[in-house]
Symmetry: C2
Subunit: 246 residues, 2 copies
Amino acid sequence: MTARKLMQNISVDCVILGFDSEQLNVILVDRTLILPNTSEVVFSDLTLTGYHIYEDEDLDSAAARIVKDLTGLENLPLKQFYSFGALDRLHHPNDQLWLEHCGDVFSDRVVTIGYYSLLPSTNVNFIQKGRNAAWYPVTSAKGLAYDHDFVVEKAIEHLRYKFWHEPIGFELLPVKFTLSQMQKLYEAILGTQFDKRNFRKKVSQMDYVVPLKEKQIGVAHKPAQLFMFSCDVYEKTRKERFDFFV
Amino acid sequence: MTARKLMQNISVDCVILGFDSEQLNVILVDRTLILPNTSEVVFSDLTLTGYHIYEDEDLDSAAARIVKDLTGLENLPLKQFYSFGALDRLHHPNDQLWLEHCGDVFSDRVVTIGYYSLLPSTNVNFIQKGRNAAWYPVTSAKGLAYDHDFVVEKAIEHLRYKFWHEPIGFELLPVKFTLSQMQKLYEAILGTQFDKRNFRKKVSQMDYVVPLKEKQIGVAHKPAQLFMFSCDVYEKTRKERFDFFV
């Protein structure tokens, strides 16, 4: 059996996003450089779930394999959104030290293909124990390795565009959700604040957000009504209303 | 001066589209393999405007440089839409012969970053003389080199998505256009046929498609009324109407 060969200058980076009813979170991986034969930590920072691709795998397979290796998560819906090839994307001192430590395995000119994934809710149990990966609020994901601050920014920008045009937000909500959760998600993605009454008025015009005869259970506050997203109603009403790019 | 180094396994391919009032066209480049020291043509086919990137240029710069080198066109609006990395994307016999002919310059595992560009109208004069590039109807762009059939398909799919949500179609029309031209463009991109009366009824509801007090000049048929796209009106009415993903 011959060893699989990594492509030195092509990688995949995944922005895995999850909403925990309060804020939008992203999975990040610990990158700590420890001096060989000592326990001295040279630096410690965070990266997206990413790695180089093998010569014998396509981009989608590489993304799935990398996410599984780093988090244990399988069968995530992973979608490409942008590729990054700035000349200085690996030029931060930490990145240079890291590359030096890795020897000749990687080039210092790497083009990375960005993927994103939306998970229905964040749950630390999703990530297998013993992994160096964990959830972090997107708002605090700054000073990441390589150009990963920019990659996260671009993913959110992409998502924001899709958010205005498709009901993809519901992929991030639990199957049954409250309007307060929905408003918080919209605010997190769109980077804006909505007036509660106006927001609810708009939602009441969305036939595909269906009120249920159920309320929250086991909450400390007054339990709120639950809602569901109906894909059927959305598809039906969308076709009736679609008028080019109204 | 040291020679610039090409990256063996990373390229950029551009889908440059233009509408000539009748159909949607794409710029393709002739790829003819002639046996060295003879005039025997081994094969002849067509590729997108694409090439490998240099180690010292970023992706956007590479796209602009490649388009300029192959067509003479400068300052095109080039936008990334997708990256392609299937294992067999260079496995057609012509591609293998071509790679063999090129020697060790390129790898046979290449990831390509797809860009697209919309030109206001197709004009063969846009392409400098002596270039091997020319306009071809998108509908006839089949059997292209590498996976370029698929790249074109993906570009159209991307465009179709944007078309439903943004008035980008007007980038492909002349500044002053007829409704018949507009309908043909919509039909070409969306791959559908519209009833003339229904189409005009819909357009009449678009405040940003402004009728002019001008008609076509120098046409053999009865001159049609001209229209313009108003970006100001679009932006204004869009904000008023925007209601999430209505």
